[in-house]
Amino acid sequence: MLENEENPCISKSTRLPRKRFYRARAHSNPLSDSHFPVPISPSHVDYSLHYPQFFQSSDILAGSKKIEFADIGCGFGGLLISLATLFPETLMIGMELRDKVTEYVKERILALRKASPGEYQNASVVRTNSMKYIPNYFEKGQLSKMFFLFPDPHFKEKNHRRRVISPHLLDEYAYVLRVGGIIYTITDVEELGDWMKSCLEGHCMFEAITEEELEADPVVKLLSSATEEGQKVSRNGGQTFRAVYRRILPCV
């Protein structure tokens, strides 16, 4: 795709994909069955497609790497772009339900890889419904960080089961996160912030991270600044509500 200089979706000046060509419906319904390929199991995820530089090299160590960060509902991918250079040796993936948005992020990463050779090789994106297919992508304890930044609020009570954070879905997140792994959530919707916090607080495999630790974690600052949604909120001077929790062993 990038070979094609005439691609109107790519800006001539910045050589980055233009967002307006990838505009999509504001919200997708995660409950409806869409038609995209799903790997049968984590061992079927084609890493060489997502991270060619890591997996086409003869470096055996690089070839055994696994994805460690997942940005769920990554939107236009701002967080991945920031994390990619902050953790250059860590493989990370964004999961996004909207087709066009996923395409945009794909093009964005390809363009960045081209513009800065050697960089952004560790970031990729996949179109999927994270609420259904997380176990198809990650093994038990594979992830060290999961991000849920400005998820769709689904206000109505009857739509709460569409929320990406829920007591039942936390069971799955606890499964793919290693002990000590961290789940980061942030929203500008107070009610949703309370909901996410109470789900995490009530779960036997997560514990809140102390303020001191949050201060020391370089990732925390990105939560409100790195993504498109976060930038919009801060432009409008909106308040944000954060809940950051660590995966722990359940007490028996």
């Binding site: 919200h27 319904n29 409950l31 409806s32 069955d33 049968i40 199991s41 984590p42 609420m131 259904k132 176990p135 198809n136 038990k140 769709d152 609020p153 689904h154 206000f155 109505k156 009857k158 739509n159 089961r161 007591p167 039942h168 879905l169 936390l170 069971d171 799955e172 606890a174 499964y175 919707v189 779960h203 036997c204 495999m205 359940p250 028996v252």
Partner: protein, 441 residues
């Protein structure tokens, strides 16, 4: 989803189910909303006693089973009621209301917990306060245990040691969850996912033997395979291509409009044999001729090599028998089968249930040939004609009724297991009809 199913209700018929008491005191068959129980010890039919405001079942029963100690029996289905019966008196002791229609049930070995799955993929648990014969009917409230995200759960099983509860769904998934000491607080610790099936998972069973008391998990699927799993790690140990083994044209069979699906599994108590019910499924409606698999496939389990291999095929030649459900007991060596469907309003056909029994369903011993499995004639079945009269509703089934039922069985299984495919047009229409799309910030 629920509403989708609701629309297809008039054509949706329920497959008949069979369950046998572990010590073979009773055999039960469910056809539609009708629950039929036969007492094998006394050779008579049983009448159920249900003092609830809504006695018995009002809609198709989707799951029945005896508890491992034989004291309890559970029935549940489309009327959103889970009924727990004492098998001594056949009184309904507990009634549980479900928010959604129920698709699967499981009972813990001691009979203390009953779990059931609803059409939204949520598994619920109720704790029973024992079996007290003269207690009044108790209405219980269930607590959520775990959830598959919006996928219909097809099968629910406790592991033999009850450390785990295993759930299978229409989205190819098998989830193994630690069953906690206090399940009323939910089961949050996922032990593994068993992922390899490429179609809906229709059935699960555990096999265990002395050397492997923990047991191995066996699953059957619409991808025409039976798979063997180490369920604690989720690793696939072996795949048995039963479709190919049955000599049914495969791979490109799909394009020709047919597919082989596994609809039922039943293991001998010693884990040495697994009976497999197979159906050849037509995917294109227009084709009316089909060739059903004539019988039951028996797989031998080799625990040390961790392999399933075809031991033999027991043919049922005299009629187009397509089992919809299987059952066995601790020691009888009998495999009980039922083929049937509830009556469908649209076609006006009467409900049908046909019960057949295979003897010699026990230890897979190459040395002994005496125990060759055979299909029993009607008069050789324990309980004889009395039993057939009760469980089938009548003694003989006419041929055209039978072939009509065979068609209905296939439709029923299809509706049960395969997701409805909407045309793009219809999907758009459904989208427009939704009022919940615009969640504005």
């Amino acid at each position: 989803m629920e509403d989708e199913n609701e629309q297809g209700r008039e054509t949706e018929v329920a497959p008949a189910l069979i369950s046998v008491h572990p010590a073979q005191h009773y055999v039960t068959v469910a056809v539609g909303s009708d629950l039929r129980v036969f007492n094998l010890q006394e050779g008579c039919s049983v009448s159920l006693v249900d003092e609830s405001p809504e006695p018995l079942h009002k809609d198709s029963i989707r799951a029945i089973r005896f508890g491992a100690n034989g004291k309890l029996f559970v029935s549940a289905g489309d009327d959103k009621l889970v009924k727990i019966w004492s098998t001594d008196s056949w009184r309904c002791l507990y009634s549980v209301s479900s928010e959604k229609r129920v698709s699967a049930v499981a009972i813990s070995n001691g009979g203390r917990f009953v779990c059931f799955a609803d059409k939204f993929g949520i598994v619920w648990v109720v704790e029973l306060d024992g079996v007290h014969e003269n207690q009044a009917l108790v209405c219980k409230k269930a607590e959520p245990l775990l959830a598959h995200y919006c996928s219909i759960i097809t099968s629910l099983e406790f592991s033999p040691d009850e450390q785990y509860i295993v759930s299978a769904d229409r989205d190819f998934k098998i989830r193994v969850t630690a069953f906690p000491k206090n399940p009323l607080d939910g089961a949050h610790e996922i032990q593994s996912f068993c992922l390899a099936h490429t179609e809906f998972v229709s059935c699960l069973t555990f096999i265990c033997c002395q050397d492997y008391p923990l047991g191995l998990l066996v699953s059957g699927s619409g991808d025409s395979t039976v798979r063997l799993w180490d369920f604690t790690s989720g690793s696939l140990l072996h795949t048995c291509e039963v479709g190919a083994e049955a000599g049914i044209a495969q791979s490109n069979g799909r394009k020709e409009g047919s597919n082989t699906i596994v609809t039922g599994l039943c293991a001998t108590p010693d884990g040495s044999l697994v009976a497999v019910a197979i159906q050849r499924q037509l995917l294109r409606e227009s084709l009316s001729s089909y060739c059903s698999f004539p019988g039951i496939m028996l797989l031998a389990c080799n625990f040390s090599a961790k392999i399933l291999s075809v031991a033999r095929v027991v043919s049922i030649t005299e009629e187009a028998f397509i089992p919809t459900s299987l059952g066995t007991t601790f020691s009888s060596g009998l495999l009980w089968m039922v083929m049937g469907v509830s009556s469908s309003q649209s076609s006006g056909s009467a409900s049908l249930a046909r019960v057949r029994v295979i003897s010699g369903f026990s230890k897979n011993d190459a040395e002994s040939t005496e125990l060759e499995p055979i299909v029993l004639a009607d008069k050789e079945i324990p309980g004889g004609e009395q039993l057939l009269l009760k469980l089938q509703g009548n003694l003989s089934v006419e041929e055209e009724v039978f072939s009509a039922a065979a068609e209905a069985v296939k439709t029923a299984m299809h509706n049960l297991l395969i997701k409805k495919q909407y045309s793009a047009e219809r999907r758009e229409f459904r989208k427009r009809g939704r009022n919940d799309r615009k969640d504005k910030r």
